[in-house]
Amino acid sequence: MSEQMRRVAIDPVTRVEGHGKITLLQDADNRVHEARLHIVEFRGFEKFIQGRPYWEVPTFVQRLCGICPVSHHLAAAKAVDQLVGVEELTPSSLKLRQLLHFGQTLQSHALHFFHLSSPDLLFGFGSDVAKRNIIGVIEAHPETAVKGVKLRKYGQQVIAAISGKRVHGSAAVPGGMNKSLTKEERNVLLADIKDIIAWSEEAVSLNEQIHMAHPENHAFGKLNTNFLGMIGPKGELELYHGGLRARAPDGSTLFDQFDYRGYQDIIREEVRSWSYMKFPYLTSLGKEKGWYRVGPLARVNNCDSISTPLAEAARKRFKAFAHGSFVQDTLAYHWARMIEMLYCAEAIELLLNDEDISGSDLVVTGEKRSEGIGVIEAPRGTLFHHYKIDEEGMIKKANLIVSTTSNNQAMNESVRSVADQYIDGNEITEGLLNHLEVAVRAYDPCLSCATHALGKMPLQVELIDANGGLVDRLTKGSNGNIERSL
């Protein structure tokens, strides 16, 4: 049986529903030699999709995630385009999909920075827990927080204008789009776009200043990794469609402009006994050296340029920070995320002023095929949707590699690094728990949906010694209360 086909039984104690768990494994010298992060458990995605008609896939895959439904919608739509034999969309459909994608990425990045990461950055890791959330941000920086809410809302308005509603709308159809934007809809969105760009630029500046002003942040959870991401034909930042580029930590190119339909030739997925989530790696480098990072940090490092002026200027400052080589600081994910948010804001303005966005030529047809692969750069990183259909058009096989899965090994490595640096003897302190949260948040991992229905969302950290014994366990409830239990 091949390695990818190997069945691995998952220990029930590692199953996570609605809460996060970090297991820290010590060696005989009490150093943390391994961290196991059980924040996300993606299971059942393929089963959820199999057996359904392909034309419904772009709509119902939006249910996979409450934070980035549009990303799944578009990746699925690109795969379905291939199933209906369409290689190239009309200019109007392509631009409408790009606009939808930029709206999604803008609102997702805004949520992450203003709600999730800015408390860490603005208040520092050791600050009062009650302040380390959006409430604290609003109290200390009321204008910033309100702008964050408005940025998020604007992204939702872009999505709603294109897809009819902001959740589970119907935008992409096989070979094209369902509708274009009217002049009135464009004008409504254009009315606020200058503010959106200005606020995004402020957010970039804020992140830049914070990162440069805190040298202690640079080494925090820092890793030297490969980067994988999509790239445009001229090497520019590309979020919707392009080839794949991977680069090694020293900047050398592993592959470039690779047709993503051959992704199974360059990426393999390892299964481990303690997690439902797989561990992808670059085939050419093997399991030990082939793991990589995706998402904003990978994309901004990987690209040669950004096509919009303000974001390109910000990228150049980002690169200058590392003297032209890769910025590997894990906390620089936040900075890169804001550069991308600015790019999306600028790109939205360009598209809203493009007459193609109101065009009526929206659908292309072709000869049906049995296999389709769609890849986009979702807010958290490269997202793969791969389907095979039977003669009736039912999905008989599906494979998804979501962004958080690609970052799986890197998240564990960053958590291990932070744990080993900050652990004090054999005790898990509240400070350590806070630091581990900061490391996880940098990657913006996507959590499975429905978690809110399952009660509160505690985070539990366990310390296991070299003999497998439980040394300490600390749990933080969603109300911020800390409990130690052994």
Partner: protein
């Protein structure tokens, strides 16, 4: 629909995860009745997969807000409670509580959020791709009956009378002390009866 309708019913949850669809399903049922005519002429419904910070903007200008969610541990068939603003100590923004949303509203707008309630409908199975279970459907039917009564009470004076038993006592205390959370006059009168 106008965004200024006085009552907002906000059902949230993932319709692709079994009983997690309870919130959106209730909102859809009430919206269908509103479209049909007269049941809820002053009510707007809204759905989403999860609560997020920008939803504070959907609360503005309302007289009352009802959040509807699935819950795997509440009493059957549902519990109906008053909400208070609460600080969110969660490590993730992926699932904001309605109380945290009220707290965010206070800070964004500098005033209290509209009086808000949460209807927790008991669910049992939340697996991806599963349909809603039979018992969850029965619980949903009971919850819809309650919401019909709430919708019929445009003044809102009977909302507290319909609270689940443990919350009635709390609302009575709140109506006297308030703790910075102002209840509308009509509800205060009801709770003092």
């Amino acid at each position: 629909m106008s965004s200024t309708k006085p009552v907002l019913i906000f059902g949230y949850g993932n319709p692709g995860r079994g009983d997690d669809a309870l919130g959106p399903e209730l909102a859809a049922a009430i919206e269908a009745e509103a479209f049909a005519g007269v049941e809820c002429p002053l009510v707007e419904t809204q759905t989403d997969m999860q609560l997020q910070a920008e939803h504070v903007m959907d609360l503005a200008g309302r007289e009352r807000v009802l959040f509807v969610d699935a819950d795997m541990s509440c009493a059957e068939p549902y519990t109906f409670e008053i909400l208070e603003p609460e600080k969110d100590g969660s490590y993730t923004s992926h699932a904001m509580t309605p109380g945290a949303l009220l707290h965010a509203y206070r800070r964004v707008y500098g005033s209290e959020a509209p009086p808000s309630y949460v209807l927790r409908i008991r669910g049992y199975n939340f697996e991806l791709g599963d349909p809603m279970g039979d018992q969850a459907c029965l619980n949903l039917a009971a919850a819809i009956e309650l919401v019909r009564k709430l919708c019929a009470d445009v003044s809102g004076k009977d909302w507290n009378r319909l609270l689940s038993s443990t919350d009635k006592a709390q609302s009575h205390c709140q109506s006297r002390a308030c703790g910075g959370y102002t209840l509308p006059t009509s509800i205060e009168k009801t709770s003092q009866d």
